[in-house]
Amino acid sequence: MSVEKAIRQYVLENYLFTDDESELANNDSFLDKGILDSTGILEIINLIEDEFKVKVEDDEMVPENLDSVNNIVSYVERKQG
């Protein structure tokens, strides 16, 4: 499964509780839109580490890498090289 699809599916299922794809835009800010809180972002990090075998370093836990589907996709692709 692609990173984009996996993240979208996870957020829709576990935080928006819906199958309606239109509820989540890929550039929606998780923080500004109130989609995730601080524990939610930790769960997303666990997902990234488990599913995509990417180690999220402390200094990489920043909004530029994690605050939207698009940001996560770019970050994971960069890490996977």
């Binding site: 299922e13 928006l16 509780f17 819906t18 998780f30 923080l31 500004d32 109130g34 995730l36 809180d37 601080s38 524990t39 972002i41 930790l42 990090i45 402390d58 200094d59 990489e60 836990m61 920043v62 909004p63 994690l66």
Partner: protein, 503 residues
């Protein structure tokens, strides 16, 4: 002569005019520029017709504008009603209705929310700071008034008992609980906090706590009264970013709830960060696991860790544990602040002796005036000037307070206090629900999370996801149940009361 919150701030402005008071993203504001904006806000609100005693609601993120609005309202002699920004419109409508606030100061980020509210509150005057017309390149309040270097300020008469703020501690269940705090409450409590934290102009803090709650509100006032610097960080979603801010700004203080430290200890390698600048950290908002206290001490041996206990009804703080006694009195929340009488009483209201467990009652100059517009509830909680806290505990022979639980069914998720009735009321709006109970279950990070136990009727096909989706529409994020359990019937006593402890 009594000095109000505004007088105390003005004193700090006089003493530290060029010192940086607030850092908000890339912008730095000195005490003088902060004061000028407050005076301009004061002039704006007076022009709007605001009178002493009028309530003004704030629906704003922590920001320089939040702070200038807050003190601007106080400078008129008004009462600040700072609203929880993660709330849904039903809560906001209820709070505006209860408080009688006719002005709402907000920002475009919350336009969906306040537009829903406007329909129900026709007389509400919404001031959206992002849409304010500004003269020149001035800050928002100065710019809207077209005044440079505002310094003309006529202080209203403010007494010790004059109301300063209403803090709502629960949502839509019945009549809202608006904790009404006076200038005297604030001054008494924050003077004590400043004393035990030994705050001075040399201190600075990266603040992640919302100012609309009493803990964050306490940080705001105590630091500004001390001439310290507050660096705003609106969330703890990215702990590494917060730690970098602490290091980059050579920060001396940090405050969090147990969940903050659970995240710091479990998700971040603190050894990678040079936190030598930190002088102290504080923890309130529920009990922190003792293992986390030990770990925090070992990771930050040079830092004073203050374990604190309080209630919104007591302005913020009731007790603190002297860091020197942290290991000796592990598990204690310390001793009452100067001027606070803390008693343990049994169910018949008799005072208990040392080491006997009962309910905690407190009295002192920090105890609220009451719940706004809710005399019945005030009478239930405020008895002979003592607050019935709902917390259970005991005092040992040396006067240290230990908490053992809660008498009420309130759930505490990551520092947020939630009434189970509020959740149940929302769930009961769904078709097919026979009955429901919300309870708190232990969680490693958040302290507690919400578990729903639901009884459906025979025809109902509603599932867990649909219930959570409904909650998301109706409740703030932290109130959404994590677990949902479907059962045939709820356990009850002979008189029909739900036995929550069995769920």
């Amino acid at each position: 002569m009594f000095l109000s919150i505004i007088d105390k701030l003005r004193e700090a402005v006089g003493m530290y005019p060029d010192k940086v008071a607030i850092i908000d993203n890339e912008d730095k504001y000195t005490y003088t520029s902060l004061w000028q904006e407050i005076v301009a806000c004061n002039a704006y609100l007076i022009k709007k017709g605001l009178l002493p005693g009028d309530r003004v609601a704030l629906l704003l993120d922590n920001s320089f504008e939040y702070i200038t609005s807050y003190y601007g309202v106080l400078a008129v002699g008004g009462v600040v009603v700072a609203l929880n920004t993660s709330s849904k419109s039903s809560d906001v409508i209820n709070w505006l209705d209860n408080s009688g606030a006719n002005i709402l100061i907000t920002e475009s980020k919350y336009s969906d929310l306040y537009n829903e509210v406007i329909d129900s509150c026709k007389s509400l005057d919404v001031i959206n700071l992002d849409l304010m017309h500004r003269h020149d390149e001035l800050l928002v309040w100065s710019g809207s008034m077209g005044i440079h270097n505002a310094d003309i300020y006529h202080s209203p008469e403010i007494f010790q008992e004059t109301n300063a703020a209403i803090i709502y501690t629960s949502g839509t269940t019945g009549k809202p609980k608006g904790v009404t705090l006076s200038h005297g409450n604030f001054i008494a409590n924050f003077t004590e906090v400043i004393n035990y934290l030994e705050l001075t102009k040399n201190d600075s803090i990266v603040n992640i706590l919302p100012f609309y709650y009493s803990y964050g509100n306490s940080i705001l006032h105590t630091h500004l009264m001390s001439g310290a610097t507050i660096i705003l960080e609106n969330s703890f979603m990215y702990p590494a970013k917060t730690l970098s801010k602490i290091i980059d700004n050579n920060v001396t203080g940090f405050s969090g709830v147990p969940a903050t430290y659970a995240i710091l200890l479990n998700r971040v390698n603190l050894d990678d960060y040079d936190l030598g600048c930190l002088r102290y950290v504080t923890q309130a908002g529920g009990a922190m696991p003792q293992a986390h206290i030990h770990k925090l001490i070992s990771k930050l041996p040079h830092v004073k860790l203050f374990i604190m206990y309080g209630q919104t009804e007591a302005t913020a703080r009731l007790t603190y544990l002297d860091p020197e006694k942290l290991i000796d009195k592990l598990g204690s929340v310390g001793k009452p602040l100067h001027g606070i009488d803390l008693q343990i009483r049994d169910e018949n209201n008799n005072k208990l002796g040392s080491s006997e467990t009962g309910e905690i009652y407190v009295s002192g100059p920090n105890i609220m005036n009451g719940y706004w517009n809710n005399q019945q509830l005030t009478n239930e909680v405020l008895i002979d000037n003592y607050i019935k806290t709902g917390d259970l505990g005991f005092i040992d022979e040396e006067g240290y307070v230990f908490l053992t639980g809660r008498r009420s069914d309130m759930i505490k998720v990551g520092g947020n206090r939630i009434s189970p009735l509020e959740i149940e009321e929302v769930i009961n709006q769904l078709d097919g629900i026979v009955e429901v109970a919300a309870t708190g279950v232990d969680d490693e990070i958040l302290g507690q999370v919400i578990k729903l136990t639901v009884v459906l009727n025979d025809k109902s096909t509603i599932n867990e996801k649909e219930i959570k989706a409904f909650c998301r529409k109706k409740l703030a994020l932290y109130k959404i149940p994590k677990y949902i359990n479907f059962v045939e019937a709820l356990p009850k006593t002979a008189s029909g009361k739900i036995q929550r402890y069995l769920l």
